[in-house]
């Protein structure tokens, strides 16, 4: 039993006190327009490098670029809808797990131990249109599994040896024949049983004790539309129940859906609008940007998400982080404006401390270009 209630709440997002805002240094990296990026030490020289699609850029300056491989191009898309660092073959160098809508295939690109040669590409499985790979530790072993966002719903678990090192192959588990695919996927404990469930646009799968062998029960409790990838399962209002934060990937809208439980135990979902008037919130992440111990919500517009055909396609680009104060989302704008000068969020952005100054930075790819927003912390003289 569930109920969905729509509550339109205008003006939730307001600007914060400016003097507390963090200082960022924005830099354009290279000239490529892939929509996914990550930051990690590619060549084991101690500096964090930036990877985006077919190239990686040497840190800490990111001026020198190296080709990784050719990436299939379809119009202004690249078949590269995620770039996740994972030591797949256990050689001590992080490889890249990727996949895309057009190539239909989950792949990993083998890091040639940081050498300036092209990377070998390995096909894991043909799984259909991958809207974006997601990565989540579904079995609680401390290592993430790969979710290619397809229907049927697959989990790919890296096979590891006794020493915990990757063996260069993945085990594939199909947990459901229906549900999933296309837009919207999120991970987290919906029903409070301590297990991470999987949320899709039309409902959620309840995790069994053994995620690879047990039956996942489907709860079709909502309809989030062409939802962001990922959606974020997070207790927004701190009432002890996880809610779901959902962007509209190909239209206007950005909301959090409050999980309610009535006196008779029936679960319901109430929409609270974060931003009704910006479009193509395709990518969301939670990370503690301001080092206050609580995560911020990082999000922005995916430029030309459907090649200029989405509602709001011509509106300005924006990249933001939102401070979440219980149910209030306070927007801080990292960048805003036309694509010739501003950055959006792409389809797979990366948040980590790239320059080692103790503050998490944002690597924002997209068809408008690849940008690094170095977080310099609070202003100092």
């Amino acid at each position: 039993m569930s109920a969905v209630v729509l509550l339109l709440t205008a003006g939730i997002a307001i600007e914060p006190a400016i003097h507390d805002a963090l200082v960022f240094e924005k830099t354009r990296i290279g000239h490529a327009t892939f929509e996914a990026a990550a930051a990690f030490d590619v060549d084991d020289d101690g500096d964090i490098d930036i990877v985006s699609g077919g190239y990686w850029y040497e840190g800490p300056e990111f001026k020198v670029q190296h080709k990784i491989c050719d990436v299939q191009q379809v119009g202004d898309y690249y078949d590269d809808f995620s770039d996740y660092p994972m030591d797949v073959n256990g050689d001590g160098y992080l490889d890249i797990v990727t996949g895309g809508f057009w190539g239909l295939t989950l792949r990993w690109r083998e890091n040639p131990k940081g050498k300036p040669v092209e990377w070998r590409v390995h096909e894991v499985a043909e799984v259909g249109n991958i809207e974006r790979n997601c990565f989540y530790d579904i079995d609680g072993d401390g290592m993430v599994e790969v979710f290619p966002t397809t229907s049927p719903v697959h989990i790919f678990k890296l096979a590891r040896g006794a020493d915990g090192k990757g063996l260069g192959r993945f085990e594939q588990f199909t947990i459901a024949q229906k549900g999933g695919g296309g837009h919207g996927i999120g991970f987290g404990d919906v029903n409070g049983d301590g297990r991470p469930d999987i949320v899709f646009s039309g409902g959620w799968f309840e995790a069994p004790e053994n995620p690879f062998a047990g039956a996942w029960d489907w709860h079709p409790e909502f309809s989030f539309g062409a939802a962001s990838v990922p959606m974020l399962v997070f207790d927004v209002n701190e009432d002890g129940r996880n809610d779901v934060i959902v962007g509209q990937a190909h239209g206007y809208g950005f909301s959090w859906w409050e999980q309610t439980v009535s006196a008779d135990g029936a679960r319901g979902w109430v929409e609270h609008v974060i931003d009704a008037d910006r479009s193509q919130y395709h990518e969301l992440q939670l990370a503690d940007i301001d080092n206050d111990g609580a995560p911020e919500l990082i999000a922005g517009k995916r430029y030309r998400a459907h090649c200029g055909h989405d509602p709001g396609a011509d509106d300005p680009l924006g990249l933001y982080y939102f401070e979440i104060n219980r149910s209030a989302f306070v927007r801080v704008t990292l960048d805003y404006g036309p694509p010739v000068r501003a950055s959006g969020a792409g389809i797979y952005l990366w948040v980590s401390d790239v320059d080692g100054n103790g503050w998490k930075d944002v690597v924002a790819p997209g068809k408008e270009g690849l940008y690094l927003f170095k977080n310099m912390g609070p202003p100092s003289e």
């Binding site: 914060p16 805002a21 960022f24 206007y252 008037d277 704008t333 501003a342 950055s343 003289e381």
Partner: protein, 696 residues
Amino acid sequence: MCNFLWRIATVGAWAALTGVAAPASELDDLVHALASDNETARVEARQLLPRQGAEAVPKLMPLLIHQDQRIWRPAFNVVADIANEVSVPGREGERTMITTSLMALLDAGQPYHIKARALRLLPLAVPEGADLSPITALLDDPELREKARAALLEMGTAEARGALRAALDDAPPEFTCALLDALGELRDEKALPQALERTNHADAHVRAAALRALAWTGNPRYERAARAVCATAGPDTERAATDALLRFADAMAAKGGNWNRAIQLYYDVLEDTEDSTLKSAAIMGLARFGDETVIPPIIEATANAEPRLKTVVVHAFKCLGGRAAAKHMAAAYPRLAPNIQRALLDVFARKHEPLLLPILLDAARDEDADFRRAGLEALGEARQLEGMTVLAEAARSASDDEKELALASAWRLADALRGAANAPAAGSAYLTLYGLARDDAERRRALEGIAACPASEAYDALMAALQEPALVQEAVKAMMAVAETLAASGQSKPALAAYEAIHAVDDSVATTAAIGPRMEALGAAVSGAEMLGLVTTWHVVGPIAWDTDADWAKPLVGEPDIDLGAAYVSRNREVAWQPYKTHSDIGIVDLIPLLGAAEWCFAYAYTEIAVEQDVDAVIRLGSDDGNQVWVNGEVVAENRVDRALAVDQDAVNVRLHAGTNTILLKISQGGGGWCFCVRLTDPSGAALTFDELAVP
């Protein structure tokens, strides 16, 4: 002869100038000529000397320091030409040579005007790495320091920047400002600490200049200092300090990453200054970089402002984009002064934003005539079909001049929708315009629009238009497009009726060929080929060599009697009859794919058709190239011609008898294309009814 004469003439002048005997090289000759009294020689020397390159510069120095401007000015221009010529990478050696010569003019013993002259030329020549100490020394000279500073700014080399930085230490306040401006203009990062330090300078003018030198960075780390400069500015420096703060905000906003800080700076300027120019600049900063949240502060800042500042709202709203901004603009609109509202109508229209359309629609129906006219104009730009209703109302019932305006706006709207590839809306708009049209020219224009953007609701109007002789040509095209749209959406019956209506008014080959297959696909009783009387079934043979002119008349395959089982050897190749049925809309038989590319040859084509009774008929033939025609074994036509194919090129009157009739063609080929098409009509041009027989 002329060259010789001016050489002689210049020798005396050179000797008078330098006191030495005249040299003999071409360069020397030209230098002499430049200083001569011979006008023609001077002009020629002025033109030729720059070709001598940097080596000429030392020799021009005596001329450059000459008192007579007829001598030093051309020398100056020649040196400038040479310096410009070598100011490219790879020619640093020549630039150094020029620099060395010019630096000598800065010696202490040289008068002011010579040094000034050299300072104008040096920025053109000085390469990276050059010793600038002669110029640096002038930065202490109250008379020449500004010229020296300007020269160093123009050079912009590392040494020039270093010299400007070094001069900051002992410069008086006024010159400190000039030095800081130069360093700011050069975006000299090494000067930033010195500039930051001078934001605490005792002189407020220096503090403002220091902020200008920092402004280009947009670095939030300088924000506190920037604010302090503004806070401590006096009445005579407030404008300069605030201007610098706005430049700082502009740079911060343009760089990105610190949007909220930049926007807050604009807000603070709006709140703190009474200067309308600075307020305008802050508002435009908000507009260029801001989002929807800047709209209420802009409205508040201009609410009680002087009229000029109020108009800035119009420019600001023009800059702001996106649905969120449109929503806030719509909310702010009712609170604006009427003149601003009116000016905004065009701005809103050009945003093509549905949220702003109600404002335009209301304006177009306003009681105030000026407002109403502005609204009607705006609807023409808004690219939203909803505006057409109001425009049509005005075009029908308003005053004459307003009718004209509404109609013009309606045309703009329809054309804009078409340009935006919104075909359904554009088609609907053109249909409205068809109804509003005042004459056939306008009706034809509307029909052309419907043809390009077919709207199925135009069906009835087009049925009527097909009956109008003055409109029939455009109506046919429009109805063809509409019929195709109907067919594509599964509405077969009206689509077929549309094609039949077209055929009733236009049975030309081109139109019939276009609609015939479509009608056939929709289940029409007759095929496209039957509608045209096309002969589509043939037996063909070739290529048969065409070696002499006599071959035109020679029976090459035994004609007029034909044996379809026979084979022939031509140019060592055996060829035989082969059956072929064309599916071309106009019955073209392309012989090259069938028989192979060939030159100077013939093909023969044979068919049999049956008619129910004796009948006069016309064989309408197109051929590439020429043709000869037999009907029932008799030659009925021959056309020895070299041409490309067109439908109905030749018409041959024949008498067909009841039952089977044979047709044999001989088609010549010189080169290029090789094909033919045949259709049978009655003498009036209507398609003949006949059966194509399957020839064994």
